[in-house]
């Protein structure tokens, strides 16, 4: 006999499908479950329905589990998820301490939190890779940007954005024993957010993201430099190309003075790659902006690819690229241009340009030493780290973002390689801001299928760091940057276009101030991140 409360779920003396599912989901009370079970045991029709319901439950579970399948070439996000967890936990703890300061009687052991927070801050920066994407919405600001905003708010526009401005209270080390307030207190019912709520939320986010005022954390340059040193010491080494590697590969005639001007002014400093690399302290100060070119270069077909339009079923419009449609010169690397530079970098570049190729190693050391001296003079600090440590790229990107005043992201990056050994074929690799990867090979009018892949979060972070460290200020300030390496015939052998989205800013191409060697290295690293070789195998 069904319970009176269940009567509406019984139809003609039989439980309806919803009730059976509720029973199978073990959501009925003991009494109700007994009633249903007894009935099912005696009713063949209901027994069949139960069997069908079990099958549907299992099938839906299996189908939904298929959504969890990880695509090929995707790094499991567990590591990143751990870092994200630490981000939120540290922010939570920071907020907790902030609340404690305003209501001291509510939270005991604040000093304990501080001590634990110092340790956790160092651990946190060792774990967090630095998440970069900002979706142009002031509500959805990732943790790294929140931290940057917090530091910028506390220290002004010249403050350093590091990975650990938010002092963590190390909940991962010592879980608090406090409990969530019991039910009865008013809580806000979940409602759809509106514009007002978003603004308030964004405001509260920025407030809550501000770091606690630790005794050693102040706005004094010396104290900040000390924090920078700790942050730098705690950050993991990046195996990717750094400024050091870039300098090492330079030819004397093509010192990227734009890079030097930016780096020397204090965005980031690495040292010579001749084995005596040291980790220089993070530099505070405003980076020297790279002046914009007077006239941007013409938009080429790669822009269309960079915008992600027409990639599927690419038509003949891009077929022309196989013939070298872009403008170019007859001399390799002549299409690379340099921006105006600072006097110091100019002097170095001039000296470098006058020496022979055989002296490139010593020139690199000179450049790096000069950069380091300039950086040291800017901060009055001259600490160095162990010889084998190099300033990680994440720090460069973070500081670059802080100096630019906003988080940097890219719309898309496109690599176009043209091979005219037999018939000219252009292989185009495009990655958009969401990490969607497209690859197409075109030769004349025939187009081969586009292959799709998806970068993991970690790969996207790596890619962003790679682009940031290579193009420095150019991308931050410009709409996009286009770099072309021409073959001996004058056709572009390799073209890299990085399109940058700036809110409400017109997109103009910045000149490429990067050497051919660095560009080739960049292309190789992008291939490695994206897994271009596996994409090639998919294309018949």
């Amino acid at each position: 006999m069904p319970h009176p409360d269940m009567s509406e779920s019984w139809v003609n003396g039989h439980p309806d499908e919803g009730l059976l599912h509720e029973w199978l989901d073990e959501q009925l009370s003991a009494g109700d479950a007994t009633v249903v079970e007894s009935h099912v045991a005696e009713c063949d029709a209901c027994r069949a329905l139960v069997a069908e319901a079990r099958g549907l439950i299992a099938a839906s579970h299996r189908i939904l589990s298929a959504l969890d399948d990880v695509p090929v070439n995707v790094i499991p996000a567990q590591a990143l998820r751990t870092a994200d967890r630490d981000d939120v936990v540290s922010l939570a703890s920071s907020r907790t301490r902030q609340q404690a300061r305003t209501a001291a009687d509510r939270k005991p052991n604040t000093s304990r939190w501080r001590n634990v927070g110092k340790i956790a801050a160092l651990l946190l920066v060792a774990l967090v890779p630095g998440v970069f994407f900002l979706r142009g919405d002031d509500v959805t600001v990732p943790m790294a940007s929140l931290r940057d905003t917090a530091v910028a708010d506390s220290g002004g526009p010249s403050s350093v954005a590091t990975a650990a401005p938010v002092s963590a209270a190390a909940p991962s080390l010592a879980a608090p024993s406090s409990k969530v307030a019991s039910a009865g207190a008013a809580e806000r019912a979940p409602q759809s957010s509106d514009a007002v709520d978003r603004q308030r939320f964004a405001g509260e986010l920025s407030k809550s993201a501000k770091p606690e005022r630790e005794p050693q954390r102040s706005d004094q340059p010396a104290a900040r430099a000390e924090l920078d040193r700790r942050v730098v010491a705690a950050q993991p080494l990046s195996p990717a190309v750094t400024l050091t590697d870039s300098l090492a590969r330079l030819r004397p005639q093509q010192v990227p003075s734009a890079e030097l001007s930016g780096k020397v002014a204090g965005v980031n400093v690495a040292t010579a790659s001749t084995g005596a690399a040291t980790r220089a302290p993070m530099i505070t100060g405003t980076a020297v902006p790279v002046p914009m070119p007077a006239t941007p270069p013409p938009v080429a077909a790669a822009d269309q690819l960079a915008q992600g339009q027409g990639m599927a079923g690419a038509g003949g419009g891009r077929g022309g690229r196989g013939g070298g449609a872009g403008p170019g010169t007859t001399r390799a690397a002549d299409s690379l241009s340099a921006s105006p530079t600072s006097p110091a970098a100019n002097n170095i570049a001039n000296r470098a340009g006058s020496q022979s190729r055989a002296d490139s190693a010593s020139i690199t050391r000179q450049i790096a030493d000069a950069a380091q001296r300039a950086a040291a003079a800017a901060t009055n600090t001259s600490e160095s780290r162990q010889p084998s440590q190099i300033l990680p790229r994440a720090a460069a990107a973070t500081q670059l973002r802080a100096s630019a005043g906003k988080a940097w992201t890219f719309d898309s990056v496109t690599l176009a390689r043209t091979n005219c050994a037999t018939a000219c074929e252009t292989a185009v690799l495009n990655i958009n801001e969401l990490g969607a990867v497209r690859y197409a090979v075109s030769s004349g009018s025939s187009v081969k299928p586009v292959v799709i892949s998806q970068l993991s979060s970690a790969s996207r972070v790596r890619l962003t760091e790679l682009l940031t460290s290579t193009f420095a200020q150019a991308i931050v300030q410009a709409g996009s940057v286009r770099c072309t390496i021409n073959s001996a015939t004058g056709a572009p052998a390799l073209e890299i276009v990085v399109a940058n989205r700036q809110d409400n800013r017109p997109r103009t191409d910045a000149p490429c101030a990067t050497s051919e060697t660095v560009l080739r290295q960049l292309a190789a690293e992008i291939d490695e991140i994206v897994g271009t070789e596996s994409l090639k195998r998919r294309v018949p």
């Binding site: 549907l56 939904l64 996000a77 939570a92 969530v180 307030a181 809580e187 809550s208 892949s453 018949p540």
Partner: protein, 172 residues
């Protein structure tokens, strides 16, 4: 909110999984999850934690999905993903996984919004009371909602598989 760490430890993974299944984009899901926990920070107390978290996350998805650029790009990825399934792939294992995932995605998207959400929440272990609270429906209707969703999902998936097989046979 003093115990956000505990909430994070308990609910972050299932929340991300729920959002990933809902959105088909793990990065997006993690962003929404982060924002959900940040909102939890602002709460003095939460009586029904899990349903509150899932409800807030659901609302955030709904609000976020209104942004045209996100939807357009998401659809573009879906379309591109579907096109990729038609491409020649020398790696049958990954191809089959991609196909199944694409079919599962289509089947899930074919459900009514409330049915889909209820099913995804149930998969993450929310009980009927929590689902009712999160979706603002009566508890007595949760069972019916789930049964309908499960049946529809299975039937749709089966139909999509059948269509794909027929299409493959016709092509050959």
């Amino acid at each position: 909110m003093e115990d956000v760490e505990r909430l994070f430890r308990l609910y972050h993974a299932p929340l991300v999984r729920y959002l990933t299944r809902r959105l088909g984009d793990r990065d997006w899901a993690e962003e929404i999850a982060q924002e959900t926990f940040l909102r939890a920070l602002r709460q003095e107390s939460i009586s029904s934690e899990r349903s509150w978290l899932f409800a807030v996350a659901t609302n955030l998805v709904r609000d976020d999905a209104r942004k045209q650029s996100r939807q357009r790009k998401h659809l573009e990825l879906l379309r591109a993903e579907a096109e990729a399934n038609d491409s020649v792939d020398p790696e049958p294992t990954s191809m089959e996984r991609d196909e199944e995932r694409a079919l599962a995605r289509q089947a899930v998207e074919s459900l009514a919004e409330r049915d889909r959400l209820a099913l995804l929440m149930r998969e993450e272990g929310l009980d009927y009371d929590e689902i009712a609270e999160a979706l603002n429906i009566t508890r007595s209707s949760v069972g019916t909602t789930l049964s309908r969703a499960r049946r529809r999902l299975a039937e749709q998936f089966e139909a999509l598989q059948r269509d794909k097989e027929n299409h493959g046979h016709a092509a050959s």
